[in-house]
Point group: C2
Chain length 344, copies 2
DNA sequence: TTGAAAGCGCTACCAG
DNA sequence: CTGGTAGCGCTTTCAA
């Protein structure tokens, strides 16, 4: 590996000059500039990042923080795609992304206790998912790093954030059940209050229900897994026996509900239509294929990356809340036919 | 953030002494050692990694390389779990993991062209998946970094690698079809020759077939997606109309095949039994739930991390091929009943 | 337009 | 057992 010094020596100039050229700083004659550039090119020179970091205290790395529960087998991986998009958007600017999974203890201990931060290894923090507590986020924000939230946001505090259009998405899927399939008794299966995405999707459901002059029915669970989805299905027909449509705040719940429905002898979508949210990888392999709201995960990551860059170079204010559009993925669980319907 | 110098000054000792203590090096009196440790503790001191890297040229970061196609929506994410396990195993030793997704151009250009490597940002390379070409791997191995392969290995060259027990897994699932369900005409759907896991699973299929004195039937596709699985199903009944069992080298193919089978009017598992490999997250939501071979992905990542550490501190030879045990996940597509059978 | 030199924070060698 | 000091490779004043 060649160094700055080497280039300087071979050209008979100082390292200061070479550094200026390589960093596009003014005060170097066109002629020397070209000589330096040529030799650097020829030598395949790249600055040693450790050295540059030490001198500038900029590390060119961003941390992707996510709760480790997101990597349990039960969860459909959502954040890896975001991380991928993030990495893609950042790499051209020389930034790299480090994965940091947090367990509950680390979350409770706060960001200042993270070794990777204590060692000053990062310039920025991308915190993904509602699993990361407001307390943690707030504590992180005073650490002096550029901070961005993905699939999460704090109501009270200003943070740059990238989220799916949860409300619009749920409105659309609910309206689909109402307008296209003429349902009037539609239950919402949701997670705990305070979970941003769950709250917002609830709002979308409500706005569609109210716009149609219908009555809302809500089943609130303490989690949004396939298991709680199954539980929610039972509860639904106990509380609201005339239900013909179900809107679940995510696909896991929707699929759990479909399982339970099957066991209860109810046909989907004939007896009850189901729509989910997320469009996780197996939504189209559910039985029947699940109609759901697709989130452009990789694109969300890319967008987060772009925003982060702008934030770091100061071209946008520290608080930019961005929403990315979702799309209704119509399959069969809502009552529509799709082109892949098995010829049974 | 406090520095080494600060500790030294406040204690009236040299930075050399403090450094020795903090790095557990000999040549410091018990008394000073304790004074240093105490103050360091009190100050929450952590060495600045950029400075340490510059001095030692050890970066405490490992790169997780994976082909970007693994993050396309079509693929079931497999490597993020491995990455998570890797990160977990490494974090206690102060190592962090960076994600690097490679596109075809980067793969062709070789590792030496990766900016992250040119900038000397990493100590080690974990290359995941058979998408990474032998040429790339070989080129990487001469870069002087510790190198490890996951879910891949080179026949000809010695590399530390962590792979699932592909052969044993496929043997077990094939034998299950033979012994438990009495199938005698079992087709293998496989991917291209040269793909390590596909080859090995083929070997497992063959050994089970031969052990039972049966005749092998193989359909070889140029890829292992749901699409090629559908195609393979059609081809299967064109070539081997009496097939009653299908072993697919992965779940994507198996699920694709099940789709096509459904459309062809064949009942699963009544007319034809199907088993997959991988136990991707939606295998249990397939219709019917897919019997498959489960791979402990997170554990594979952890193991890779441990091996990497041992390799870096020289306690194991550079070539240790490790296999992790798989487990047959019995559901319904093979003909077994599972406890969650819908009451239809 | 250029160079000398101080430093970023740490490690490691050489004396004492 | 301890301290002084020379780097690691780069950036950034300050002078020239």
């Amino acid at each position: 590996m060649s160094t700055l010094r080497e280039i300087a020596d071979r050209l008979g100039v100082s390292t200061a000059t070479v550094s200026r050229v390589l960093n596009d700083k003014p005060g170097v004659s066109q002629k020397t500039r070209e000589r330096v550039l040529t030799l650097a090119q020829e030598l395949q020179y790249r600055p040693n990042l450790a050295a540059r970091s030490l001198a500038t205290s900029s590390t060119k790395t961003v941390l992707f923080l996510v709760h480790r529960r997101q990597f349990s087998a039960a969860e459909d991986p959502f954040y890896p795609f975001i991380m991928h998009g993030l990495e893609e958007a950042l790499k051209d600017d020389g930034y790299n992304v480090m994965l940091v999974t947090l367990d509950d203890a680390q979350l409770a201990a706060g960001p200042a206790n993270l070794r990777v931060l204590q060692e000053q290894r990062a310039d920025a923090l991308v915190m993904a998912g509602p699993d990361i507590s407001p307390k943690f986020i707030l504590a992180a924000s005073i650490l002096g790093l550029t901070t961005l939230l993905v699939d999460n946001a704090l109501r009270e505090s200003p943070f740059t954030s990238v989220q799916p259009q949860n409300e619009e998405g749920a409105h659309t899927s609910t309206a689909h059940l109402i307008e296209t399939h003429n349902h009037t008794r539609i239950v919402l299966m949701r997670g705990p209050q305070g979970w941003a995405s769950s709250d917002e999707r609830t709002a979308g459901y409500l706005s569609a229900i109210h716009a149609a002059g219908l009555e809302p029915f809500i089943v609130e669970m303490e989690d949004t897994t396939t298991e709680t989805g199954e539980e929610a299905a039972k509860q639904t027909f106990k509380e609201f026996p005339e239900t013909t449509g179900i809107v679940a705040v995510n696909d896991a719940m929707a699929i759990g509900a479909m399982r339970a429905l099957g066991r209860m002898g109810r046909r989907i979508p004939k007896d009850v239509a189901v729509v989910g949210f997320d469009d996780i990888s197996w939504a189209s392999y559910a039985n029947p294929p699940l109609t759901t709201v697709a989130i452009p995960t990789v694109e969300m990551g890319r967008l987060a990356g772009r925003l982060l860059l702008e934030q770091m170079n100061g071209s946008i204010s520290a608080t930019t809340r961005v929403r990315v559009a979702t799309q209704l993925a119509i399959r069969q669980s809502c009552g529509c036919d799709d082109e892949l319907a098995p010829a049974e």
